[in-house]
Symmetry: C2
Subunit: 347 residues, 2 copies
């Protein structure tokens, strides 16, 4: 299962990230009547790396850290604990300054009990792992909360967006993760929407074509079969050692007609995901994230063009201004780690 | 536009509806520290009738009323005012006992300003009508709120369901209205979800078949073309003077093979609407309402069967227990009027 060992690619940095300078401050340590808000740490634990962020009491990112993931339960906990200590040290504070730690994990998470199941990417295969409790013990009792990776990404994107001052209104968005699969996290009216069974935002398995290809979920024609990294890789396998989306967009840009068709179809399917999110939840923003979103503005342009194209035939869709709702996930901060840190405040 | 005049079919009744006996009481007048909660009235204003309900401070339905709708702005306001006065009188209280009045209206509602547009069914065609303000004036200053008809239905269903004690948890549901068209209202984590542009729950216009029939919205293969009263009427026009859904289900019950096919297709499309709602918002309950839902348990059975059928091919769907989430809208109370009265509390 590929244990990553070294610290060779590790880095940590202390920096006051830009958002703080333009963002709204919600308060500062020691002021006000309530208990002083304190620092929190968030970790975004992925299959290959752990990204960490330290948030100060005002909600600004003070320091970030990046570590390789060590697979398996023991490695995971030791690695997470080390990442917390490192990002705290980078930020010039102490573990005892922390109000809490939030973790974002791919897998089935029970946020109430702090347990994780089937986090196959992390080498946690079968048993339920009481991750929050074990990490809290490892950190001398700091409260720890665990959340689904898409949920922390949505919370992080909402936090960054709201503080960017771009929009005077409350936090309201879907984080649309174009990763290997397709799924989303939802923050509605300022609150994380988990759903009755933790399945909110599982739009990848909405069937959209009765004659479409079989899906691994057992259904047919699921949206994920058209709008995901896996779908792109199948339609345009990488030939030159770069990720499939990059090669596809390069070929389309160079005028390859087949590539243009595949790209347009992908953009149209991603636009369908945006439309689906708005027609069900009417989120104010749809934030494109996940591996495929590393394409950046080229992807954004293609999806917005597809949305405008679809709106041409439907005044109803036009009135929803779908293209204007879409944006790219922030890249100047590790947005999922920031979201985990925001949730750590509520621990 | 068919002005209904008479009171011939009108009725009003004073009754303590059953829910109160099993429901949880949230408080009662005069107790507690805050200001005493007071009575509210809700009206569900439809194209042919106005249903009204008086809620007491504990949230129980005290009295209900049913009046014919008078079309056009003036008639609408006078009729609504009369319905409020009548349901209040039926309940043995005074206008001055009201904390507020809530209205549920089909059409484009701005709940912030209390205005209504394009309520064509009510003879309000063009201009923006400041309904809340005008009705409030007519009632001597009682605060009035206006809300979309699906939203009040969802709030009412959540109120009734929560008080029925069937489920210990918070209010969390979609009210799936199988009317002429297809749309839903959402109460998520106990709060009405309107969405950024009031479009939350507009699932009727999610395309689900690229080769499907054209939709009036300009798109093709929208879910509404398969799961709505209009879709049923097109597939099985009524021949014997009863509503098309009733005739269809009767024919299917009698063994008509064509009817069985049409019925199964409709049940499957309605099941797709349930699946769509759960895969996006993960609501705990999906409540079937609207005209077609007057079929009652026969409809419920058909939709649940279709959901179980779909779950057979997908362990993922099976894990979501979709069939168990579906239920019929309560019929012992005018659920939309109750929801309007609940919203009237917040006026």
């Amino acid at each position: 299962m590929g244990v990553s060992s070294g610290r060779s690619s590790d880095e940590s940095s202390k920096r006051k990230v830009g958002m703080g300078t333009v963002g709204k401050r919600r308060g500062s340590a020691g002021s006000g009547n309530g208990p002083a808000p304190r620092y929190t740490v968030g970790l975004d634990i992925g299959g290959t790396k752990i990204l960490g962020a330290l948030l100060d009491p005002a909600g600004d990112v003070v320091s970030t850290v990046r570590r390789s993931t060590v697979h398996g339960a023991d490695g995971l906990i030791a690695g997470a604990a080390r990442a917390v200590r490192d990002v705290v040290a980078s930020g010039g504070v102490e573990l005892s300054d922390l109000a809490g730690v939030g973790l974002g994990i791919p897998g089935i998470v029970d946020h109430r009990s702090g347990t994780v199941k089937h986090a196959v990417n992390l080498g946690v295969n079968d048993d339920e792992l009481p991750l929050a409790g074990l990490l809290s013990d490892e950190l001398g009792g700091v409260p720890v909360v665990v959340e689904n990776d898409l949920n922390v990404a949505a919370v992080g994107a909402a936090h960054v967006l709201e503080r960017s001052g771009a929009d005077g209104d409350h936090e309201d968005l879907a984080f649309l993760a174009l990763g290997t699969g397709l799924a989303s996290g939802l923050v509605l009216d300022g609150r994380l929407r988990r759903g009755a069974s933790g399945a909110a935002g599982e739009i990848g398995h909405v069937p959209v074509d009765p004659l479409g290809p079989d899906c691994s979920c057992g259904q047919r024609g699921c949206l994920e079969r058209f709008a995901s990294g896996k779908a792109l890789e199948a339609a345009w396998p990488s030939r030159h050692g770069k990720p499939s989306p990059v090669e596809l967009f390069e070929a389309a840009r160079a005028g390859d007609e087949e590539a243009i068709v595949v790209k347009d179809r992908f953009a149209s399917a991603t636009a369908a995901a945006v439309r689906l999110l708005v027609l069900t939840t009417d989120v104010r923003h749809v934030v494109l994230g996940g591996g495929v979103a590393q394409l950046g503005t080229e992807l954004l342009d293609a999806v917005q063009d597809a949305l405008r194209e679809q709106a041409k035939v439907s005044p109803f869709l036009g009135s929803l201004k779908l293209a204007e709702r879409v944006r790219l996930a922030p890249t100047h901060v590790p947005v999922a780690a920031v979201g985990a840190a925001v949730l750590g405040r509520r621990s």
